[in-house]
Subunit: 309 residues, 2 copies
């Protein structure tokens, strides 16, 4: 049973990733859906380099699977999933810049500012961020403008000062300080920097699925727990993994007074927290056990906690 | 009569700038309208440094005055005007970065990356860009979600790959080339880099004002001509002005093989083009002469063409 669920999960993760890859390829192609947009050639190449062919596409998967809980699938859902992935990709491109994390490698490839140059990386990030809102606000994503406006607002909040941007600033400040970081501060930082966009992915699926207030609250709790589990798992992974497996410099967090939960809690307690959060995420979906099938989202919580890269 | 119109214009420009300043101060304050947003202190300070207390607020003014043509004014309009100014401010912060224009001064003050640091400037820009969509998509801006979704889509297009971002890339490429730039190429570049957001400002006023197709087409033509006049006036200004008047390094365009219309056309023809575009902008508003009073928007075309800084 558990093994069958895991196989089904792997299949669906792959299906979602393929659908999003195809959609990104269309949206970011030389003849995009929005035909009037003329994109200078070199920029287009750098945008595609930064967005295509990489990653598990976890955020799109969460959006697609949540919408599917409510029987909604198809092009509009895939467009919204591509929009959240654009935000994720933009954040990686800007975070890797010399003035921020100064990373040369990402998923085993040169980062955008290394493969191109800093100016291009800044503009690629700005462009992907902007285009995500274009895609969400476009009638092709959903016929109902109220849904589109709600998606835009939720994404802007998740990606903005109270979400990703704010978390990134807290992260930079933490790195510059020499004092040890409290678990509470790290948890707040992580919930903003990475948790908010994972939470949005689930919430967006609920918005598109026209979930009622009760289902939305359950999915919101799931999204928060999953986001927190993801980040503590990432901290644990950084300590455990070696460079070859991970495709980025492993152990770098410890070298920089990075705010991590392994540093704040110790490895053992960090693992306990990760497993508790995964269980919380799964429990939040109990609501759906009578009717709608949330087995894939439950499996996603295991996946996020146990992933090896 | 012409002098009276100019006085009235000055008064309205000041009124709009004050209203937008107050709105930006609220939206970007420690207790913002969106109360749940917690903004790290240093970031907040840098955001306010980059957004408050500067500029003529021309884009907000165009939005406010266009909406007023249709009898729409008040908080929602001012919020939309603040959103377009956030986009303008973000674009200045990122354009000034060392990897892009590498400017130390803006409006006579240190640029954001000089007053703070590069990492902060990148994040301030990202945050302002994101927050502009938050403000537009918020129900406080307009009760009708269809209007909000349309504003978001129009802004994303104006600021995106086919607008500001695309124009910025063309500008960088032009600067790196040693060949002289054709007038046609410069006009395309400028219509994307600066024209698109000026055009959006007018269009957004028409969207909020629920303008009919005929009025919208006239205002769109006005916005395009005004945007083009603005940029050629800027090119002329760069040649004429000295550093003290302008608050930025004057003559810098000529030193860099910048794509300017003065270089492509010569000063005399550039002036003719500027005056012809201003006249075109004014003529586009003839539609409104029977009923609605477009005198202020007409005066804006004179202002844009003749401004001394």
């Amino acid at each position: 049973m558990a093994e069958g669920a895991a196989r089904e999960f792997d299949k669906r993760l792959k299906t979602a990733a393929d659908a999003v890859e195809t959609m990104l390829d269309r949206l970011l192609g030389p003849s995009p859906l929005a035909g009037e947009i003329a994109r200078p050639g070199r920029l287009l190449e750098a945008i595609r380099y930064s967005s295509l062919g990489g990653g598990k596409r976890l955020r799109p998967f969460l959006l697609i699977e949540t919408a599917r809980l409510f029987g909604v699938e198809g092009e509009g859902v895939t467009r919204a999933a591509a929009a959240v992935e654009m935000i994720h990709c933009y954040s990686l491109v800007h975070d890797d810049l010399p003035a921020l994390d100064n990373d040369d490698l990402r998923r085993g490839r040169a980062t955008t500012h290394k493969a191109y140059d800093e100016a291009t990386a800044i503009l690629v990030g700005d462009g992907l961020l902007t285009y995500a809102f274009d895609v969400l606000a476009d009638p092709a994503t959903h016929a109902d403008p109220a849904i589109r406006a709600e998606l835009v607002l939720a994404l802007a909040r998740a990606a903005g000062f109270g979400g990703m941007i704010g978390g990134q600033v807290l992260d930079l400040e933490a790195e510059q300080s020499t004092a040890p970081h409290t678990a509470e501060a790290v948890i707040r930082l992580q919930s903003m920097k990475t948790g908010a966009l994972l939470h949005f992915s689930v919430l967006a699926g609920a918005i598109i699925g026209a979930a009622d207030a009760k289902a939305r609250a359950a999915l919101s709790a799931y999204g928060h727990a999953l986001g927190a589990a993801f980040q503590v798992a990432d901290d644990i992974l950084d300590v455990e993994a070696d460079e070859a497996t991970l495709g980025k410099r492993a152990g770098k967090d410890a070298g920089r007074n990075k705010a991590t939960l392994v540093a704040a809690l110790g490895l053992e307690d960090a693992r306990k927290r990760r497993d508790r959060l995964a269980a919380e995420a799964i429990a939040a979906l109990d609501l759906f056990s009578q009717g709608l099938d949330a087995a894939t989202l439950k499996e996603a919580a295991h996946f996020v906690a146990k992933r090896a890269s």
